[in-house]
Symmetry: D2
Subunit: 300 residues, 4 copies
């Protein structure tokens, strides 16, 4: 299949590589030259512009940093027309960026006005998942569009979810990541409380994991150093999913809650904890380092 891939950052580049591995013909575009070179070496066709990459493509995939970039790519601005005005065919449009549902819906409506099918398909799984081809895609858009996109997405990911109409992918991702922030801070809090009262963190982790406190963090991402081999906690919280990014995702939950006047006491609490932790110099550590906030003097 002929695919255009726009945006070759830390996530986009390995995703495009996996499309090539799956046998697709991939035209790529990015403003950064070295990224283009790298993909060319992997077999992609480096294009001079997004429009050139899109020319003749059956599917266009974008992976960009923020909503404004996605809007600009597809909708254009005063001085430059967007891709929607420059397409020669009717390719399927898949935006895998994490942006606000409002932006996703705006682009989706413009796509519809141009007779195009648009899907918002934010991912989870990080750079590791992008490389291994084990990302999760949470997709918003029509059922037909979703079925059309599925084989392409399966070249890059493992779990492909259909969340609902356009924008629903972004909403579901925000909800999930808000819950993740709550789980991680809550789990850290419970562990710190137990340890302060003499419990062994590994023993307490095991008990809660098998009981009604069981959750993803206890299963695969234990925040206490040494409890789980290979965890971020066991390598001084280096790498992984950064505190700054978790704070940002929880900020998206705030924006969503403001838009619809929802009450989010637990998510707000989590956002403030991660923001505080970041403000104390820990924004570049893995988000499970929130454990240290609960350990006071001892954790720093």
């Amino acid at each position: 299949m002929k695919i255009a891939f726009i945006g070759l950052g830390n996530m986009g580049a390995p995703m495009a590589v996996n499309l090539l591995k799956a046998g697709h013909e991939v035209g790529v575009f990015d403003l950064v030259d070295t990224a283009m070179k790298q993909l060319e070496a992997a077999g992609a066709m480096a294009c001079a512009s997004a429009q050139s990459a899109a020319s003749g493509a059956e599917v266009i995939i974008s992976m960009l940093p923020a909503g404004q970039h996605v809007r600009r790519l597809y909708l254009g601005r005063e001085d430059a027309p967007g891709l929607f005005d420059a397409l020669d065919g009717k390719p399927l449009i898949i935006d895998a960026s994490t942006i606000s549902p409002v932006d996703a819906r705006a682009v989706g409506e413009a796509a519809e006005a141009h007779g195009l099918t648009f899907l918002d398909a934010p991912v989870s799984g990080g750079v590791g998942g992008a490389r291994a081809g084990t990302l999760s895609f949470i997709v918003g858009g029509s059922a037909e569009g979703f079925e059309q996109a599925r084989p392409v997405l399966e070249s890059m990911g493992k779990n492909i979810f259909h969340a609902g109409e356009v924008g629903a992918g972004q909403v579901a991702k925000i909800c999930n990541n808000m819950l993740l922030g709550i789980l991680m801070s809550g789990t850290s809090e419970a562990l710190a409380l137990g340890v302060k009262n003499g419990l062994d963190p590994a023993v307490l982790s095991e008990i809660m994991k098998q009981s009604s406190g069981g959750n993803w963090a206890l299963n695969v991402y234990n925040p206490w150093p040494g409890v789980m081999e290979g965890s971020a906690a066991s390598r001084d919280y280096q790498g992984g999913f950064l505190t700054d990014l978790m704070a940002k995702d929880l900020g998206l939950a705030w924006e969503l809650a403001l838009d619809c006047q929802a009450t989010i006491p637990m998510g707000s609490q989590a956002r403030n904890l991660f923001a505080l932790h970041a403000s104390q110099g820990n924004g570049g550590l893995d988000f499970s380092s929130i454990q240290n906030l609960y350990r006071g003097d001892e954790g720093s």
Copy 2:
């Protein structure tokens, strides 16, 4: 084995019945006559006092409402000596009540002074688990005591955890239930936020369950009506684990955090949410009815 069982309430009675079913000889005592009659019918020996039940027993199990009752039973008070002063042998002492770690340790120290082995062994699993013999026991006490108690506890439960020294069982249960309160309110919050933005609660539940938001509530206790067959949510939040009891357990977490000066922003938030929900007339509903708090007018 000859076992004394003190306290035949909603939990204690079916636990004692399971001991009888396992072939143990059980002497029982409770202040309530009908409870005694019921156990007698099931094959237990009804005794006139705790002391009489304890006479000649190899194991004494107590299941009482609160710390003051446990203290009174074993330590006595001005006008009446406690069981520890009245024992003829050296039975193993297992208190399955949910009490504060401070109370558990006080009784444990008195036991040690009398040359007795004491275990605190609070349970989770509710009345259903007590009847089915599938309770979890979270045990504090010496490794020897734990091994001695294990076969007896296995007659009444499925998961038998050793949390640490005396008091550790109570600490671990408090930590787990605090995390449960956080998970349940956090999951309800994420679902409400998604639904307010057009998502289907079952679809969103499935996505989060398989992603990094996965937790016990999504697995077996989904709070949104109709998502999970047989859940409390699907029967108008009748029965189950009551809001009032969750608020009380989160109150134990507050007490524990005050004792050791721990910071518990997520657990405090959860406690206030359940207490607020209870104050608005929902104390007698299942605790997953916290979902309604997030639904505002629509949920009531």
Copy 3:
């Protein structure tokens, strides 16, 4: 002085009337005809457009609902030029709307590019203050601009504060109103806790007012019914500053905190409490009705 006044809503209309009373010559514009008629009756000159009102004015004052309206008025959009492009002189620009600091700064920069002096001057004091001419103005902009504006603002208000550069007026108002939300919910919480423990709300109010708990709510806006004659609480929370508006102002604090990555645990808590209270059907009551949230069944 010749003044143009754009925006004759609940706040703007009485403000413009006060300018007339102070002897200024006022040209007004609003899209709503009845508002124009009313001002004409009070002595204003009704103009056919904002541009016509601005023609020859020494000062332009705008009082509009939201940032988008202010941007559109001064900056225009694709199909229509803004006021800044249509002015014949160099009038002082005062925007009294409550908008985000980001919007205020954008308009301020455009003003500067046109050689104009711009002030953001959000007010507090409500419709009552607008009528009585006792508003507070919290002004952002240059010291010279502020001194130039002061006599005009004094025709409409009592306290005129200079908060700092352009945008600072909006920031200071957001900070103040966030603190107000915290004070009001905190005061309600303290009163409810005392009353639940047998205290008389009036006695407790008096003690706290004279002690280290003293604050604006206890001084002039006591949330407990009957404690203060003439308070919103004493007339079933009718009128006043609505719960919905307080929730909205606290939402502006969330946005500001997201922009600068600030941690606002107390303000977030207050926002969620007012949003919850609104979601339970109380958005149209005075914001001091948050007291009822703390009274549970009894308060409803």
Copy 4:
């Protein structure tokens, strides 16, 4: 008047000195010899026991660290009778300690059973207020008892409040100090948010003080360094009312809320903020140093 004063700590000693200055005859008792010597030098009669000090006294005043000490003094324990059993007359009993309302009521009931009038009269104002004789007394007990105590209390304090029946003094103090914790953290949060957005902390303080954000902290205890001369903030948060003590007082609010199942989201938040701040090594700083928590890297 003949007065017995039991408990000569940092607070009690200067209070007793002020009674002497007012011309009363004061018999004192404390377990610490140096405290006794100091009071003797100031004109008090050092007594060998509380009972001896109480002998013939018209008023007994106690100022002890915690509820257990107050119970022990008046009610005694197994091995030693309490003061109530040893009194020869019917002196007025005033306990100025800060203890739980539960303890205060227990002692009050015992007093009543002995035909004695008991008042709980916790103070605010700190060591400085104790020395200067400007303490506030918040008194629980009968109106007659209160009138009888007033002249004595006025020798040691300035504001004498009657909060209600026995225990009400403690309740009112807890409510006030909870509100104080809320005000101080809320004010710090608002100031940090404003400063992060370019405002001058002194200017913002002045605006909020005169607006609806006005409160005790802005009036007399501004938490930002340099804004208020002589404030704790302006001397590196040395001295004053310690973070540890504020955390402890907010803990009393938790206990009170647990007893009566009240919802205290704002007070809980404040308690966790002060507890976190203490856990990061700031327990010995003035409580207004919570400002630093909001300043992240910059504040430390």
